[in-house]
Symmetry: C3
Subunit: 343 residues, 3 copies
């Protein structure tokens, strides 16, 4: 990683921190786990279970919790502070701005903005991006290249659309939202009436509402509602290649890992976690804080706090137990055959 | 939903309808199910099983079948007609044109059309769209922003390409087709020859043919054939994030729900339904009208009319039965252990 | 297929070949398997197991291995050579260049190249493509329409980016790489710290490295690493709609079929094969040459050479055996119930 940060700049980030030890390194050139770190690297003790790795780390600087007991090796600096994980995140934020500098405010000359659109002067709009009629782009938004912001769509302040995002007509994005490349928001729902053997399209008149601080992974798709709104609750994080059907209502702070599929009209309460490739059949309800294992197939509503696995999904420990017993089926059938032959 | 439609305009849509009751509402501002509707809303009795909800609905206007017996509440209008579901679809169509107005015919100044391309004067082409050499775009087509229509590709009349569709060289789209945002049609198939441990690319010379009235969901991918054609049959509907491999032949009126994967050279006959995340191994045949449950794994050809579930897939009722028995495995093994200890 | 190739041009491709028989056909107009071929077609015996089909084929020209014994039918030409499969690939390569002609070197007038970017004069860059600051595009690269090559990104020589590829900042593509339409490389990883119930974003400072001769299918997503590199090993082939999480390390010559999901920090050694829709949990290791069946769920590290199936994944033959026995569960439970009633 071609990063660099001066140790003196680091120390300025945390005036309340305590230092011990001395390093000859002036500029750090990498970040790594305690075990992998080498001279010149910054490391950190985020999770107490790695405590024993601190004494052997080769890192030049180590971020440690205040209560850590121990002394630095030679040519090593310890920085003790309240929360090393958060401190690391702060360093990363500084580095990120250096490695992935934001575009300055302004509209790229190769973008096209409809005259009736309202784009904040503090927003940036990338090359080949189209902003539709009566659309609104809020303060300090970063709209990448090749984006489409449809007619009457709204992007709240401080939100980021990475390259190639398609935000279709009338959809609404809150503040502080991050939408990764290639995402489609507001596509037509998959709904048809049967009419003499023909699948007759059901028009979709609704929209998608994405609340504040949501993040959405690359190439994920969110369909608009039939009449009202498909809604993604505040602080929910969605990974890449996820499918969200029409009329779905996701609660706050849910986590949907890559390739999850959520069928139309599913309602998830707050704090639901769904592992990768899990699938949810239509029109069911998932209770608050439920955890769904990767690849699980959910065909019935889920109680709050449940932890389910498998297809059909079962309580996690029962599913584990059955998996173990399935492996013993050959033995069971063998014994059964023996007894049969004894009779 | 910020919609509005005058009741007098509604009535003009169905001159053959019969009205009863009176409402003071002049302009409807929403559409909702019978239970959810409030004053100002339009509702409808599409499915007879909701008949009992009509008497309590708060909707200002209710679409009912001719044979419905009952009287409107106060400040409520009943409109009786032949087919309330179809009538609702007609209302939606009118509203859709208001909420998502089509672009007028013409080529956006920021589009790029190769001189040898043939674009109908009644078609619209969005900003930053590229139309390749010798491509044909038919009458009344709507080509959105950021689309790529490759060399010699054909888009039949009245078809719609939403933003960011990539229709690659020589592919063919029939009439009345709807392709949602981010779809890729005509990518290279996944085919390699092993040559001394190296995967040697197999060139793909074929194309993709999408027949009339097909709809394709956002970010779905359809690979072109090795020599001839990958084909999507008339009236088939494909949801978001679906994978269609090289040389696949889909019949007419199939329904493929989101995230289905169809491997190379699969042949599906007409009217096949595949639930979300179902997967089909290569080179197999799926008979007419077969139904495949979500997440099923199909590794052998499927008889016409079969209804399969699970991986490996089994007839639906057998799969259900086995699921029930699996949950009893702990009990079975316990008894088995007891008997063993008795011996 | 609207292809055409003169038989005399074919013969020039393989001066060392031996011909027997005569055909009146001058120009071939199709390629097909032995069974499907008709007059005017080229066919070939690639796999010896189809040997018996040669005598009945209607193809006008048949490519055969040197050792093939037999005589051509009337109006048919046999061409015997060392390796008919490779010869066919050579014909296809010639035809591909005719059917999908490469753009000539040069930058499309509707592309936008940042002044500090370095684009080889032998490269072609399509309409509406954006090349970012300090990016490098190597010799003879083909960059399609609507691509984004981010700041400091590198595309090695002879690589192809099909339309709409988003190659984000600082990512690196080797030589001879093919990236299909809609692929996203370098998106943010899905990583969050829990902080008082809120999912706090973990910045991703790393990048993606794609080694030489890799191919990547349409709409696939590869996230960048947290600190260092997500890496795709030389000669690995990835199908459409595949998810590769942050920090993943794929070995050389792996094959990942469509819709596979690989969670963060997975390490795959060389020559791993993963069937469609298979899923890999985070932080595990997959040994060299392992084969994973379609839809399998891998939740533990995998030994080199293992062949696994199912979720939870089991050795292939055990999984097959258990599948068979599961189908007998109804019978087993019936007998069990009978014995219980006898007691």
């Amino acid at each position: 990683m071609s990063l660099s940060i001066k140790i003196s700049d680091l120390q300025k980030l945390w005036p309340e921190s305590t230092c011990s030890g001395v390093t000859s390194v002036v500029e750090l050139t990498g970040i790594a786990n305690l075990n992998d770190a080498k001279a010149g690297d910054l490391s950190f003790l985020g999770n107490p279970k790695y405590r024993s790795q601190v004494s052997a780390t080769k890192a030049s600087v180590v971020l440690l919790p205040d209560e850590y007991v121990g002394v630095p090796s030679q040519d090593q600096l310890f920085i003790r502070l309240d929360n090393p994980s958060r401190a690391l995140a702060e360093v990363c934020k500084v580095l990120e701005e250096k490695l992935h500098p934001s575009d300055p405010p302004g509209i790229h000359p190769a973008a096209y903005i409809e005259p009736s659109a309202n784009v904040s002067e503090s927003a940036s709009v990338g090359a080949f991006t189209y902003i539709g009629k009566d659309a609104i782009v809020g303060e300090s938004c970063k709209i990448g290249t090749h984006c489409h912001v449809g007619a009457q769509a709204v992007v709240g302040s401080n939100s980021v659309l990475h390259p190639g995002v398609k935000l279709l007509n009338r959809c609404y994005i809150g503040t502080g939202v991050i939408i990764n490349a290639g995402v489609v928001i507001g596509s037509e729902g998959f709904g048809f009436d049967q009419n003499e053997g023909i699948h007759q399209k059901v028009p979709h008149l609704g929209r998608v509402v994405v609340e504040d601080n949501v993040e959405i992974g690359a190439n994920t798709c969110i369909d608009r509602a039939r009449f009202e709104e498909t809604r993604i609750g505040e602080g929910t994080k969605i990974d890449n290649l996820v499918q969200i059907g029409h009329n779905v209502q996701l609660g706050k702070r849910c986590l949907l890992v890559a390739q999850v599929g959520v069928s139309g009209s599913v309602v998830m309460e707050d704090d639901v976690i769904a592992g990768g490739q899990a699938g949810f059949a239509g029109h069911l309800k998932v209770g608050r804080g439920a955890k769904i294992a990767g690849q699980a197939g959910i065909t019935k509503s889920v109680e709050p706090g449940a932890f389910l696995k498998g297809n059909p999904a079962l309580p996690f420990h029962l599913a584990q137990r059955i998996s173990v017993l399935q492996r013993k089926l050959p033995e069971l059938f063998n014994r059964f055959a023996q007894e049969k032959s004894k009779e």
